[in-house]
Amino acid sequence: MQKPPVKEAIDWQDIHRRIDQLSNAIDGNWQADPAHVHTTLNRRARELAVPLHNATAAEQVMELLEFSLANERYGIGSAFVREVCPLTQFTPVPCTPSFVLGIINVRGEIISVVDIRKFFALPETGLPDLNKIIIVYNDAVAPGKPMLFGILADFIVEVREVAVAAIQPPSNITGIRADYLLGVTANGLAVIDAEKLLADKAVIVDENV
């Protein structure tokens, strides 16, 4: 009977040492390496850095809320945005057009939610998250009784400023969507004409329907 080939012997002592170290760290006696912390923070800062917008006085600037919907990035003027909130629970409303998802309760206030994919007649491709709501409003038309509804979004990216001159009119976009777009920025952001959207009669659901 032959002996099996002998493996390299396990360094049990080294293993014990490493386990002790880890135990100490978990007990709070752990001190991070200052150099490591510094480099990590620097790296993160670079990743998250937003280029400074050198707005000159002459240049007109528009503040946009950027969000993602059905794998496309949209921007909507932040002036028309009241707030954003997560979609936790909604109630479907019968006898409404298909683009109306239903109604939600935001701090006691009932707000209707619109799926602009359906409103724009976009193809419903992929598996969207659809767990964010952008509440838009316009107080200017009828003060005291503003137009108000929520827009469904996959996720919210950020708020940023864009030069009005940088928004190009939509050229390769057709259909209903084109009517509600102000234009497209150089980096492919479709800017929604919130004013028009809020003024649209189609969004208003007649109670008699």
Binding site: R44, E83, V84, C85, P86, K132, V159
Partner: protein, 576 residues
């Protein structure tokens, strides 16, 4: 010329008969004409004689008259009286003789009154004499009337004689011509007929005899067995010769057909089907039967020969193998004999070795008992390792569960980060609404947002690490499980090893006993080997003889096979 041979010969003969008839007729005619001519000559002479007789009668009358005148005696009247009595019959006879001649009849008619007149004159003169005497009578005569009539009569008779003479001449001339013609017919006709008949005979003979001779020559050739003769030249003839030639041609065709069949049979092709030319075709029937029998026979022979050839081939193969085998056997026997010698020596060695093996086996028994104890210890160790492995596996599972708890916590943190992000966005919007005063607040909101993003990143990293830990623990569990199994296998192997060692010990004990027995047996073996060596010597001699006889058998089988092959070739020449 579509005449039969009979018609040809008949026509030749008919021509000959016609010529013969022509010559006969001509001769007959000639002879009759000559007879006629003679008759006519006689007739003519008779007429002339009668004429002379008539004239002489008249003269007699005259003479009587004259005598009487002169003499006056009645005795001189005798010729006259005779003449009166004979003149009429003579005249009548002339009329009868010349009834076929119109001119003579006419002359006779003229003559008759003249004669009557003359005789009347005679009578009157005589009467005158009687009455008046001589002088008156002479005076009456001197008148010359009588002479005148007499001259006329003479003239007419002379004319008639001349006429008869002329007719005679004409008839004789005609008879002469006939005779000449007959002679000419005989002189020229016979040679011409001869030549004509000769030519005809030659033609007919050649026309019939020539083909017959050719046919005869052909028949002789056929009799000699030569069938290449060509008789087609006369086959078209419609006569009996043509029929004969056609019959011959038919016969030759039949013979040639038979000869061809026979030739093919000779060449070995007996596939022909001979149709007998008639139920009485002896040769054809014989050929047909012969072919049938030949076919049957050849088929049978063929199959027989095939069987023979294959049997001979098998025998040959068998004997060859046998010869080879016996040669090998002989060699093997020789080798075996020498091997037996070697084996004998080996047996001696084996006997010695067997003793040593028995000793070694005893030692092996002791060693194997030690081995058995060691294996028992190993089994114990394996059991302990198994327990340790189980505790390791449990620890790892616990570790994995704790990792999962961490994952849940991380999910909560991620949710918080998400909400923080939304809050930051809302804050930014609010700050924007506040205008210039909200600017600082906007910066704070931006910071909150970046913190939320960092939290999210951190949670993602933690989740990744947790995934790795999960994988590592899974691998560890799997490894531990495998180790546990290995240990189990080791345990089983140890148990089996224990059994094996026990078995080994038993076997070795058995072997020791067997070795002792082997030593005893090998002694007996030695004695047996001697006997085997002797037997081998006998076998060797026998196998040598065997080899020799097998060689003979092989050559005999070879010959048989050759004969079979030759027979097969011979039979294969016949195509059935």
């Amino acid at each position: 010329m579509k005449w039969s041979v009979g018609a040809k010969i008949g026509s030749g003969f008919a021509l000959a008969l016609v010529i013969l008839l022509a010559i006969g007729v001509s001769s007959y005619q000639n002879t009759s004409s000559m007879i006629d001519a003679a008759a006519w000559r006689t007739h003519t002479y008779a007429v002339i004689a009668d004429l002379e007789h008539l004239l002489s009668i008249i003269k007699d009358g005259e003479t009587g008259q004259r005598g009487y005148i002169i003499t006056g005696q009645s005795e001189y009247l005798g010729p006259y009286k005779d003449a009166v009595s004979t003149v009429r019959p003579a005249l009548d006879e002339l009329v009868t003789l010349t009834h076929d001649n119109v001119s003579q009849q006419r002359q006779l008619e003229r003559l008759k009154p003249l004669i009557q007149t003359r005789f009347a004159q005679f009578k009157s003169i005589i009467e005158l004499r009687d009455a008046k005497g001589f002088d008156v009578a002479v005076a009456s005569v001197q008148l010359g009337e009588g002479k005148k009539v007499m001259d006329e009569i003479r003239e007419i008779i002379a004319e008639m004689r001349v006429e008869e003479q002329r007719l005679l001449k004409i008839r004789e001339q005609r008879a002469d011509e006939d005779t000449h013609r007959a002679i000419a017919v005989i002189i020229y006709g016979i040679p011409v007929a001869f030549v004509l008949l000769a030519i005809l005979a030659t033609l007919i003979t050649r026309n019939i005899a020539e083909p017959l001779r050719e046919l005869a020559a052909g028949a002789v050739k056929i009799a000699e067995g030569d069938l290449t003769i060509n008789l087609k030249a006369n086959a078209e003839r419609a006569d009996e010769v043509g029929a004969l030639v056609r019959a011959f041609v038919n016969m030759i065709d039949g013979l040639q057909h038979m000869a061809a069949v026979a030739g093919r049979i000779a060449a070995g092709d007996i596939r022909d089907k001979v149709q007998p030319r008639s139920p009485r075709d002896v040769l054809g029937n014989a050929f047909a039967i012969m072919l049938d029998k030949l076919r049957a026979m050849t088929s049978e022979i063929n199959s027989g020969v095939n069987v023979l050839v294959s049997a001979a081939a098998e025998i040959l193969a068998a004997t060859t193998q046998m010869a080879a085998g016996s040669a090998e056997t002989a060699t093997a026997v020789s080798q075996t004999a020498s091997t037996v010698e070697e084996v004998k020596q080996t047996a001696v060695l084996a006997s010695n070795k067997a003793q040593r093996v028995a000793d070694n086996a005893q030692t092996a028994v002791a060693i194997s008992q030690d081995g058995s104890q060691a294996v028992q210890a190993s089994i114990e160790a394996m059991r302990r390792i198994q327990e340790q492995m189980e505790s390791i596996a449990e620890s790892i599972v616990r570790l994995s569960e704790q990792g999962h708890a961490i994952g849940e916590i991380i999910a909560t943190v991620n949710d918080l980060a998400e909400q923080s992000n939304l809050l930051a966005v809302n804050a930014t919007i609010e700050a924007a609404k506040a205008g210039e005063q909200g600017k600082g607040f906007a910066v704070v909101a931006q910071e909150v947002k970046s913190l939320a993003a960092q939290s999210k990143q951190a949670t993602a990293q933690v989740r990744g690490i947790l995934g790795e830990i999960q994988k590592a623990t899974s691998a560890a569990v799997t490894t531990t499980e495998r180790g546990s199994r290995e240990v189990e296998t080791g345990d089983q192997l140890s148990v089996k090893l224990d059994e094996v060692i026990h078995g080994l010990t038993d076997s070795i004990s058995e072997a020791a006993r067997a070795a002792t027995q082997i030593a005893a047996s090998s002694q007996q073996q030695l004695v047996g080997m001697d006997q085997v060596a002797l037997a081998m010597q006998n076998i060797r001699e026998a196998s040598t003889q065997n080899v020799a006889s097998n060689k003979q058998t092989e050559s005999a089988a070879q010959n048989l096979h050759q004969v079979g092959l030759r027979l097969k070739q011979l039979v294969e020449q016949y195509q059935v």
